[in-house]
């Protein structure tokens, strides 16, 4: 059963992401967020089931072989692009934090 392996791997990835988010170095926090969002994407694709073929059908509707769930792929496709947007935004924010506070140590910039 592939799902057990995937469950363990996703759990581990999320744990590592969480660990990074709890650091006081702002850049590491952003890494943590990136890992978490990628893990979430992988999780969604896993939910669609890994059995089945590429969701591209050469024939007409209702025929052909079993394919993987196309809906989760559509969800994740946009999520990847938006994920880039949020990562870039987080980096921009980090840069602003550095400009304003002259440090990226989160224990020192507490407001």
């Amino acid at each position: 059963m592939t799902q057990f392996v995937l469950a363990v791997v996703l759990g581990l990835l999320f744990a590592l992401g969480t660990f990074l988010v709890l650091r006081k170095d702002l850049v590491r926090v952003v890494w943590g967020l990136t890992i978490m969002s990628q893990t979430a994407n992988v999780y969604l694709v896993t939910m669609g089931g890994l059995t089945g073929g590429v969701p591209i059908i050469s024939g007409h509707g209702g025929q052909g072989t079993e394919v993987t769930d196309p809906l989760v792929q559509a969800l994740v496709l946009t999520a990847i692009v938006i994920g880039f947007g949020t990562t870039a935004f987080a980096l921009g924010l980090s840069y602003r934090v550095y400009q304003t506070n002259e440090t990226i140590d989160l224990t020192e910039v507490r407001g």
Binding site: T78, F84, A88
Partner: protein, 158 residues
Amino acid sequence: MTTDHDTTVIARTVARVVFPIIVVTAIALLLQGHNLPGGGFIAGTLTAAAVGLVYVIYGLDHLEQELLGRPPSVPFTDEAGITREYGSLVTTGLALAAGGGAVAILFGDAFLTQAVWFFEHVPVYGEFEVASALAFDLGVYAVVVGALLTILAVVGAE
């Protein structure tokens, strides 16, 4: 990354060759997206990556100086710079996607209803298919390209 003139000749030559190939690939992906892997999101990110390559290899100002033949705009001033053009690309994309969807309302269908036309007996092609969704996908493409390049340009200019 304002003007990195320390990139090697190899990198510059490769970039020059690769850039058009990536862009053509991106456009192909955009057009075939309805039936084969591809679509607005993928094509958009690929195009942005191509321009990003030029930014990395030649520096930010190259695009405006060499390709558009005008003095590079000072970032974030009120004069129209390249970021403003990216901004209008985003606006155009959103308008295209939403406006295309609104056309359906004129025909009494729900907002964003898409239609497909089939043209039989087209020379060379045989059956040829045009989906109104292509307009929507173009909108997506424009938004993604515009937004990603805005981000790259703004962050890169720092």
